[in-house]
């Protein structure tokens, strides 16, 4: 495959044709915040946190879905990008019901980590306090829509890795939500294998195991790399994570 040379934050890098900007940045330890992206799942470019500036293009493009091109000049961290990323996290915080102090995922939450990473000191937008549902019909797990950021990781891991496709996305705009089956209770679906992959890839406390209380729900994402490596390379390498 052809090698592409590009400039990121003033430094020259080479990359394989077809690689994403995010993949190149990760290889070279250039930090870019992400939320919907998860190694091992398809990329959807939904959260827009990984947006970068590319010279000659007036629009900001997501690093996860944008492929490298010869001669690209990319900025990954500018005041404009930092401002937009902070706005995205603030909007996520304002459109859900995120109460860290009483959340199962407190201190183990990617949304919380992102708030620190982007320096979200306070949210200026009015909080919406939407009346969202909580589905505790499943035998093992709970889906609390109040804490869902619609990253669709659960949808993708269930479809692409487990092959069950229990989850999907319904509605539009502010009414958008994750649904199980055709919109009924999670516990009533015929397709759920109770594997728990969705729970482990969920970045917040939206999906959690029954019986855990505040700060107890730690997500272990190492399994995903383990399964993917095993399937693709036939190497069963255990992950410490």
């Amino acid at each position: 495959m052809a090698v592409k040379t590009l400039t990121i934050n003033g430094d020259q890098y080479s990359a394989q044709e077809g690689e994403s900007i995010l993949a190149v940045c990760r290889q070279h330890h250039i930090p870019i915040p992400t939320l919907c992206h998860l190694e091992g799942l398809s990329t959807v470019g939904a959260c827009r946190l990984c947006v970068v500036q590319i010279e000659g293009n007036p629009r900001l493009l997501p690093a996860c879905t944008t492929k490298v091109e010869e001669g690209m000049i990319i900025q990954t961290s500018t005041p404009k990008l930092e401002k937009y990323r902070r706005m995205i996290v603030a909007l996520l915080a304002s459109e859900g019901n995120h109460v860290c102090a009483v959340c199962v995922a407190n201190n183990h939450c990617e949304l919380q980590d992102l708030a620190y990473q982007v320096g979200l000191v306070r949210v200026r937008y009015p909080y919406l306090y939407p009346d969202k549902k909580l589905d505790a019909t499943h035998r093992e797990y709970v889906m609390d829509h109040n804490r869902c950021v619609l990253c669709t990781r659960c949808v993708r891991v269930c479809d692409e890795v487990e092959g069950a496709h229990v989850w999907d996305v319904a509605g539009r705009g502010i009414n958008c939500e994750i649904v199980s089956g055709l919109g009924g209770n999670w516990g009533d679906t015929q397709t759920c294998t109770e594997c728990g992959k969705c729970v482990m890839v969920c970045p917040t406390g939206a999906l959690f195991e029954k019986g855990v209380t505040v700060s107890e729900m730690e997500k272990k994402k190492g399994f995903l790399k383990y399964i993917i490596t095993a399937r693709q390379k036939k190497e069963w390498i255990s992950q410490s994570e």
């Binding site: 019901n97 102090a101 959340c103 407190n106 201190n107 306070r122 306090y129």
Partner: protein, 183 residues
């Protein structure tokens, strides 16, 4: 006490919160003695002062703005304070206090004063005696201008110590990753 007039005038206020932030403030323990030498505490739930005074240098505000009394107090605080600090997660985000927002005030009052009442199940109706709930509990900075934010539920004594000392030294405390912390 000699020289108290020259010490910075500090106030702490308890709005719609659980007083946990003030408990954490008291957990400064022996550092409270140092603080007592440095400041003049002019208004606080732990000091018996009825009216919020004028010319306050630093005011720490715990809790969300959840009723009309809080709202009125917030404006008084802003008017008479040089620096206003949102003290803890309820003041900063609404936090637990704001969890009632999705239910509506009527349902909330019914639940608290009637459904769960053991003896008397009358609802508060004289709002000259008991503050009236606002439709929603909201963060302090959605009501008045706030100069600095101290996060945490509650903020730790170390974080409080850092914030107060920065303000006493005339600096707005900047919370880097060390102190920026929700929950």
């Amino acid at each position: 006490m000699a020289g108290t007039e020259t010490k910075p005038r500090v106030a702490t206020v308890w709005l719609g919160g659980c007083s946990g932030c003030h408990m954490s403030f008291l957990d400064l323990d022996e550092r409270l003695l140092d603080l007592a030498d440095k400041i003049q505490l002019v208004y606080s739930p732990i000091a018996d002062v009825k009216e919020f005074p004028q010319n306050v240098d630093i005011t720490l505000v715990e809790g969300a703005v959840t009723n009309d009394e809080n709202e009125e107090m917030a404006h008084i605080i802003r008017k008479h304070s040089r620096y206003v600090l949102s003290f803890g997660d309820c003041a900063t985000t609404g936090n637990v206090t704001a969890m009632r927002n999705r239910f509506g005030t009527e349902a909330l009052i019914d639940r608290a004063y009637q459904e769960l009442a053991d003896i008397s199940n009358s609802k508060p109706n004289d709002h000259t005696l008991i503050a009236q709930l606002l439709p929603q509990a909201i963060p302090l900075h959605h009501v008045i201008r706030v100069d600095a934010f101290l996060h945490g539920c509650p903020p730790t004594p170390d974080e409080i110590w850092f914030a107060i000392n920065e303000l006493l030294n005339g600096r707005i405390p900047v919370f880097n990753t060390q102190f920026l912390r929700y929950g």
